[in-house]
């Protein structure tokens, strides 16, 4: 392990007193409470039913949410009172329990909106996937904080990948892919822990190719990549003239090939690119010029990946296809799957600078927008509080995420750091995807906005997730248990 953090290095959180609550990060706690309260207000506005006379009646959604918040705070308090060693100890049992719950829900669960992801007890529905996030975060932290763990060693990498992919696979089987993809956000943690760029860069590049391959035709993607890589290599190697010659020659050859032979433009481009990649690759290896080799490898990868995408895509279920296509703008049917996004944009867009005021929003009142108090709760914020209000909410989330990362850095042992980063990653993914979908930046995936969306499972799980991070951070002084 590296040297311990010095408390005077700027990462100090002030004077630590002896009591537990003196160590608690009040900024994170404050951000948490602010978001939960804004959430309850928004739920009140989005689903207030004036036919119910008693404003404290539990027929109101906001009263149910307040009840859930109360339960969550009690459990959060319990977490804060627990010894932090327990979390280290709980990692394995809770992970195994989580997997067990996922399997059980696959067998005995209730289907809601096409996903078999819910348990139902009486009138209360629970979504185990929310708790699996906590278990997986703890498990990842446990595995990665092992003394001998090295993320760039194949054996360790497989181990931590398995921790993520086992629950992910079961969640996909539940037909709840949207929730499952949250687990992919752990890549964020791996990058912090030093995952080699040779691994994460191809992953990000693949996701990028996957998305652009739906927006643009393969020919335009390849031509763009060809030009970009040539420019990159030219800048790196400093031989502009030869690169321009190469580019001109390649495009000319493609043109000639498509005009003089019965081959299509696409096929000609593929042939020219294939041949030049082989020749240039050979030259690069001979010259040992890695600067040249990397773009070539990436380009060849793109040539294989983009056509495969089309084939893969045809295997997706039609509603998943629709959602992705709607996102990239290929399919735009105002009465079809686009409907939610349109209505959500209308609600947020009509908010203007300052919004219409509490309970004054019209778009989030009737049934224009389904799931207006759950997945689309951000629309109420956008409509009633305008740009000012929605920016504040976004900034509160970003502040919480940055705070969690900072807490992770402050914790002097890997378990706490990895865990805090995992929570930050989960929050970032949820915020990005959920708010992104309400403003048309992301496809509709049906995942909630943590802390704000109506729903007991989500609120409870998010609370526990954050409280554990706060608890782990609260005792950074005491290192002995891990190294004793």
């Amino acid at each position: 392990m590296g040297p311990l953090y010095n408390n005077t290095s700027g990462y100090s959180v002030g004077q630590k007193s002896g009591s537990l609550f003196g160590h608690i990060d009040l900024v994170a706690l404050g951000l948490y409470f602010a978001l939960v309260l804004i959430g309850i207000l928004s739920i009140t506005s989005a689903s207030y039913d004036p036919d119910v006379e008693n404003i404290f009646s539990f027929r109101h959604n906001y009263m149910k949410q307040i009840m859930w918040a109360g339960i969550a705070w009690v459990m959060g308090l319990v977490i804060l009172l627990l010894d932090r060693r327990y979390f280290h100890m709980f990692a394995y049992p809770s992970y195994i329990l989580g997997i067990g719950l996922l399997v059980a829900v696959l067998l005995f669960g209730v289907k809601v909106n096409g996903a078999k992801a819910w348990f139902e007890f009486g009138g209360i529905r629970l979504q185990p996937v929310e708790f699996v996030k906590i278990a997986t975060a703890l498990m990842v932290a446990r595995v990665m904080s092992d003394f001998s763990f090295n993320i760039n060693r194949v054996r360790d990498l497989i181990k931590v990948a398995a921790v993520i992919f086992i629950p992910l696979l079961i969640i996909i089987l539940q037909n709840d892919t949207g929730s499952g993809l949250v687990l992919c956000s752990f890549l964020f943690v791996f990058i912090r822990e030093g995952l080699t760029k040779y691994l994460y860069f191809p992953m990000i590049f693949s996701v990028f190719l996957f998305i652009v391959s739906f927006i643009f035709t393969p020919v335009s993607i390849f031509v763009t990549l060809l030009v970009l890589f040539t420019i990159y290599s030219a800048l790196k190697m400093g031989e502009v003239v030869s690169h321009v010659r190469f580019l001109a020659l390649a495009l000319l050859a493609t043109l000639l090939l498509s005009l003089c032979t019965p081959l299509s433009g696409y096929a000609s481009l593929m042939i020219v690119c294939g041949i030049s990649a082989l020749v240039l690759g050979a030259i690069a290896i001979k010259m040992r010029a890695m600067v040249l080799l990397w773009p070539i490898i990436m380009f060849v990868y793109a040539m294989l990946f983009v056509p495969t995408c089309d084939m893969l895509f045809s295997k997706l279920k039609s509603h998943q296809q629709d959602r992705i296509l709607t996102y990239v703008g290929v399919k735009s049917d105002p009465k079809g799957i686009d409907y939610n996004v349109n209505q959500s944009l209308i609600a947020i867009g009509s908010g203007g600078v300052f919004g219409k005021g509490f309970m004054e929003g019209t778009q989030t009142k009737y049934d224009y927008l389904p799931e207006k108090h759950t997945d689309f709760i951000f629309c109420t914020v956008g409509e009633e509080w305008g740009f000012v209000g929605s920016s504040i909410v976004v900034l509160l989330y970003i502040a919480l995420i940055l705070r969690l990362m900072r807490m992770g850095e402050r914790i002097k042992e890997p378990f706490g750091r990895v865990y805090c980063y995992a929570v930050a990653a989960i929050l970032l993914f949820h915020v990005w995807v959920n708010i992104g979908m309400t403003i048309g930046l992301m496809p509709v995936m049906g995942i909630p906005l943590p802390l704000m969306s109506y729903g007991g499972s989500s609120l409870l799980a998010s609370t526990l997730l954050i409280m554990i991070a706060i608890r782990l951070d609260a005792s950074t002084e005491d290192q002995s248990i891990y190294f004793g």
Binding site: I346, I348, G352, M359, M405, L441
Partner: protein, 632 residues
Amino acid sequence: MTNNSRGIKRYHRLQYVVLLAAIAILGRLFYVQIIDDRYEAMAVANIIRTDIEFPMRGEVLDRRGEYLIRSRVCYDVMVVTRDIPREGFDSVRLATILNISMEKLRRELRRAGSASRTPHLVAGYLSQEAKLIFDESNFKGFYTRFRTAREYPRQVGGNLLGYVSEVNNEHIRKWEYYSAGDYIGVGGVESAYETLLRGEKGISYHAKDTRGAIVGPYMNGELDVLPVKGTQLTSTIDGRLQEFAEHLMVGKVGAVVAIEPSTGEILVMVSSPTYNPDLMVGRQRNANFLEMTRNQRQPQFTRALKEHYAPGSTFKLVQGLIGLEEGVLTPGDKYPCHNGYTYGVGRNSRTMKCHSHSSPLTLRRAVAESCNAYFCYVFKDIITNPKYRNIKEGVRKWNEYVFSFGFGDRLGCDLYGESKGFVPTPEFYDKGYDGRWNWGTAISCAIGQGEMACTPLQMANLAAIIANRGYYYIPHIIKSIDGRDSIDSRFYERHYTKVSAHNFEPIIDGMWMSVNDDGTSRQAKLEGWDVCGKTGTAEHNRRDASGYRYPDHSTFLSFAPRNNPRIAISVYVEHGGFGSEIAVPIASLIEELYLTDTIKRQDMLQRVLNYKINYGYYDAKQRKYDQQHPKQ
């Protein structure tokens, strides 16, 4: 670099990633909420309820000022299923008030349920009394929509006036004005003057509060548009005469068209069989419509405008006029006729038969007695006139004359769907006979047979032309719009034929003799009135399975009185036999009523009403249709 400082570097990089995501979200929010102002308008559209108010549809008067089409108030009952209370409602009572069956109510509610927010029609044609009872009961989710239904005091002119129906998808696609649930005129006057009759729809906007309840007019009703009542039209039709003509044509297939020669106004237009226009209003409409489409005599088919008939002997008038104008015929010319006209040589020789009459005849007598041979000579002389280089030129010249009488093309009447008729041209014969033809090929045209085809409207127009001595106004059915003479200017233009006025006199003499001096039309004689007429007996090719040819079509063309004519009329009765048998009395009775306001010849009226026609042709067709399309 230590492990720790590398970690710090990665930490800072990841902070940038988080900030980048924040910037992307905030940027997009800034664009959506502040820059792009489309969404405000769309939000407003979401909270406004738009109600369409239907105007009263324009009414139609006849030329004497009595209603042909009247509008009466009625209500549609609509439902918005999501507004129906969850605990249900008294559906039996609702069905009773609306006078519909429970099954129908259930069916409509099921259909409405598929789009629970949009209004759905439950039952139409609710009377004002029933509406009051309905309003008292206050069924939540149901409401009434004002509209008007058509009413026909004389119950005449089904296929002439057209009907009003809900728009279909094609109408909506074609015209921006219509949206689902609107009404549109179909056929006849309703369709021809749709844009005037429909008026302008009104629109009212209501603001909804956050619960979806109406709080009042949106923007104090500043944007509302009041409905504009449809325009009242005055028709050229004489309702009483139309009713009488339809009555005379009951049981007969054919058409009657009467025109006022001095204006081109259509007095009567009967396409028989027709139907009672009230059948196309009310809840039984669809059933009635279906029943009518099964009828092989086609009650919805406006024969007067659309059917192609051979004009028969009435066309001899045109041949005579052309002969005189071309100078190949003088009124004194005599041609022999011994029961027909023989042409061709040897084995190819043929005879066009004629009935027995004295021979030879002059032009006037030939018209009066309708001699076939006489007009064959005339026609041959016209088209083989040595003035023209060859037969083609001759036929072309003849065409020019015939076209000037309004044959071979649409007259341009204000009703839609006119047929052109057909006049054979040299090109037609060239094509049909491979260029090898002579005057004998075309000789059937001499007596209005062969390829000659025209509509009853064109025949009535011919009667008007002769009455006017050489010109006509385009026949039309609407004479004033909203009380003003603002109909299309084309109806005020005189169209001259290529025959000069003085050449009409010998022909009119012949027509007068046909009625008043022992001619074929003597039944049309009307005491005190100088009636002129010309009968026709048109042959056709309708045979039964055994080859028996059904009786000829009976036709008659007439105008009266001889000087300053007030009515020109054409009657065409399919399979009616000789022209004099049925077409003449029908036309004559209509003239009698129009000119004298009474019917003195009750025996003739009874004979027409009781006249039985052999419609074996249509009966066989109907039997075949019923066999192939059994009733559901």
